[in-house]
């Protein structure tokens, strides 16, 4: 067993040295939605301890479609696909410095705090680069492959690498087959015709209250937003129930409505709930009104 442990130790040291002295691929290549979520949490916590952002936008895979990279200096999108705003709020509570403004997506309030994700992404080992999610040997290898391939075959492979974070999402963002889209919308219609169990919604609202009070006590201004979904779903029982619950529990807080964010745009979505690329870009433009005008002035 001595050889086994010695080999492990040598590999860890060699890998750490490699990470220290070798330039990493320009964009991290992440293996899945789970890895993407972990990456967003790890990166957020590192960012907040070094160079805190002014505005935090949190949500689910719906928010993951929104690209705020133009304001990357002061806006951070903590969108956890397949997960919840509650988890992201719990992460925000863990960060050293609290952002001034926090916008919370309300579309999936029933999802509880994902303690495993928080545990995995916030352990002490995350201070060591060899244990950070974007530095996994296989992900790095794929990143270098992408980089190498990009030199020979720019259009196809670069596309893959650049879209990786978005591609870990549940559904494609463009080129969606119409039959498949209609099937997905029918599925969502079935879901939205129902309502969330009232006891679960009540319990989650209490958690939102708890987290938001804590964050406000640290100086944050918290607001909510409802991302536009397929028009026929907007007034179905589930959507109305969720909207009304937030209005009831947080009457003093600003709620950016789906109407404000879509602003006359026809929303088709890729599956009833996830925006298509062009729709997401339009929504980001409409969101801009609620974000800091000039990031550099905040520095």
């Amino acid at each position: 067993m001595r050889i086994t442990f010695a080999v492990t130790l040598c590999l860890l040291i060699a890998f750490s040295v490699f990470l220290k002295f070798t330039p990493k691929p320009a964009k991290p290549t992440l293996q899945s939605q789970w890895a993407n979520n972990q990456y967003l949490v790890e990166k957020y916590l590192r960012t907040q301890s070094i160079n805190p952002v002014d505005t935090l936008i949190i949500g689910s895979s719906l928010t993951d479609r929104l690209d705020f990279s133009e304001k990357a200096n002061c806006v951070y999108r903590l969108s956890l696909s397949g997960d919840s705003s509650l988890t992201a709020l719990a992460v925000a509570m863990k960060s050293g410095k609290t952002p001034k403004n926090i916008w919370v997506e309300i579309n999936y309030p029933e999802r509880d705090v994902n303690l495993e994700l928080i545990r995995d992404a916030t352990g002490y080992s995350k201070a060591i680069p060899a244990f950070q999610i974007e530095n996994r040997p296989l992900s790095l290898a794929l990143g270098y492959l992408h980089q190498a391939a990009a030199r020979f075959n720019p259009p196809h492979i670069i596309g893959d690498a650049e879209q990786q974070e978005a591609k870990t999402d549940t559904q494609p963002t463009s080129n969606i087959n119409e039959t498949v889209r209609q099937n997905a919308i029918a599925l969502q219609t079935g879901i939205y015709k129902g309502q969330l169990q009232s006891n679960i919604l009540l319990e989650r609202m209490d958690k939102y209250m708890h987290f938001i009070k804590e964050l406000e006590s640290k100086g944050a201004i918290v607001g909510f937003f409802e991302l536009p979904i397929y028009p026929n779903l907007r007034e179905l029982p589930r959507a109305v129930q969720v909207r009304e619950a937030f209005k009831k529990y947080f009457p003093q807080h600003q709620l950016i409505s789906f109407a404000d964010l879509s602003n006359g745009l026809t929303i088709k979505t890729s599956d009833g709930v996830h925006l298509q690329e062009n729709e997401a870009s339009a929504v980001v433009k409409n969101f801009d009104f609620y974000l800091p005008a000039n990031c550099n002035l905040l520095r």
């Binding site: 067993m1 590999l11 899945s32 995995d120 794929l142 893959d160 591609k167 549940t170 087959n177």
Partner: protein
């Protein structure tokens, strides 16, 4: 409690320390039983009541078989013990078929014991401890195992050993199913100095590697086999994911079994091998001698042979094969998919049976063997679809999308997903090939390979997911 949880590591270290500090076998038994009960009650303490009922039924009826001299009374006690165990298993496993609507509309409103029993979830490990109980009753009744011949224990002693046999935590949740005649002789004082730490750590490293690095990472890629997501994928992606799932389910279950065997060894108990490089099988019957060996040998000894096995004529043999495989499928759960999966394998066994003595089966030619391994692997992989998609209509939908995809044909493959699926499946291929060369690999290289696995466990674990077989 999952073997990959940090809390389990703490639990095991505490149990291990107390176990070897105990000064006699009685204390050791008490410690391991209490620890196992704690382990069982961790997730759902109330389900412990159902487990304890099973223990009392098995313990008392088996003691009665042991202590009675009258063959008819022995038969009655053994029969009633087996039937009661099967009724309990059947009730919890298949009640959803009859009372699903009631359960949905009455959740959290249990007013009586009957209500509670109907609303209770499937007790963890019930499929496994029921089979352990049946094995005990049948082994004692048959009287063929020397350990039970002329055995007249006091009831307290017998009940405590039976409790240990049923609840022993390394194998409690998902096996390997150890037969009573193999377990009871092992109950004795265990000494710290007798532990073979090297082999234990090797087993644990291999098991955790297969589970955390291979299976858990593959699970992220194969997640999209689920409905409705498969509709968005091309044929190429779907095929890739199905093969990925084949590697995942092996790594998950073999990983679990190897960890269980390693933990058992640390506590001084030898649990049976559950896997013997199954994807190298060149026939379906060979596959079932290499895959989930403890279940297939249990089904052979306690079901197939009592039904007549292959000694009662051709027609009866085919019927027996189909019955055993269908029941084996349904043992996994009350879903049409499991029945189809069992039938799939039963038909496979029946179809290959006439060929077993043919020249093709006797051939040692590499190309012939390779082709047979290839066919068996693909046959088994198609069968896994019914495991993954337990709603049969969804499994059919998957196949339909595979043939008529909405999102691209066989060559439209997501490069990144393919890279990860292939990369995380490589260890499964290497593991199988390793069986061919394991005796010729130098020790230094072997130890180094365990070092690499440990490095990957530390740097590349996937999301901690429950073992697939925990649901059964």
């Amino acid at each position: 409690m999952n073997y990959t949880d940090q809390v389990f590591i703490v639990f095991f270290l505490v149990t291990f320390s107390l176990y070897y500090l105990a000064s006699n076998v009685k204390q050791q038994l008490l410690i391991i039983i209490l620890a196992s009960l704690f382990f069982y009650a961790w997730e759902a303490p109330l389900l412990l009541v159902i487990f304890l009922c099973s223990w009392v039924i098995t313990g008392v009826s088996s003691w009665y078989v042991l202590s009675s001299a009258n063959k008819n009374k022995q038969k009655l006690a053994a029969f009633s013990g087996v039937i009661t165990n099967l009724l309990m298993l059947g009730f919890f496993k298949y009640k959803l078929l009859f009372v699903a609507d009631y359960i949905l509309s009455h959740q959290g409103t249990a007013q009586s014991i009957t209500d509670w029993l109907i609303l209770a979830p499937l007790p963890i490990g019930i499929s496994f401890y029921t089979f352990h109980g049946i094995s005990l009753l049948v082994d004692i009744y048959r009287g063929t195992a020397s350990v039970f011949v002329n055995r007249r224990p006091k009831i307290v002693e017998h009940l405590s050993e039976t409790l240990l046999y049923l609840v022993f935590f390394p194998q409690l949740i998902a096996g390997p199913i150890i037969k009573a005649k193999d377990f009871y002789p092992q109950v004795s004082r265990k000494r710290f100095g007798d532990i073979d730490f090297t082999s234990c750590f090797r087993l644990l490293i291999l098991g955790y590697f297969l589970k955390s690095v291979v299976a858990d990472n593959l699970s992220e890629q194969t997640f999209w086999i689920a409905y409705p997501y498969f509709q968005w994928r091309s044929s190429g992606d779907l095929l890739m994911m199905l093969y990925g799932y084949s590697a995942q389910i092996f790594a998950d279950f073999a990983g679990y079994s190897i960890i269980a065997i390693g933990l058992g060894k640390l506590l001084g108990y030898n649990l049976p091998e559950n896997f013997n490089f199954p994807y190298l099988s060149s026939s379906i019957s060979e596959f079932w001698k290499r895959w989930h060996i403890s279940l297939s040998s249990w089904l052979r000894d306690y079901l197939y042979i009592p039904l007549g096995g292959n000694k009662a004529g051709n027609v009866r043999t085919y019927i027996n094969l189909l019955v055993v495989m269908v029941l084996g499928g349904l043992w996994h759960g009350a879903a049409l998919s499991f029945l189809v999966w069992g039938l799939w394998h039963g038909l496979g066994l029946a179809l290959e049976r006439p060929w077993i003595n043919s020249r093709i089966y006797a051939s040692n030619n590499f190309a012939v063997t390779f082709t047979r391994v290839f066919i068996v692997f693909n046959f088994v992989t198609i069968g896994w679809l019914f495991f993954k998609l337990q709603d049969f209509s969804q499994a059919l939908g998957f196949m339909k999308t595979l043939v008529h995809p909405e999102a691209g044909g066989i060559l439209a493959i997501n490069n990144d997903a393919a890279f990860y699926i292939l990369s995380f499946s490589v260890p499964v291929v290497v593991y199988h090939l390793f069986s061919k060369f394991k005796n010729s690999i130098p020790r230094f290289l072997k130890d180094s390979m365990y070092g690499v696995m440990l490095f990957l466990i530390l740097t590349s674990p996937g999301p901690s997911k429950p073992f697939i077989y925990f649901q059964f």
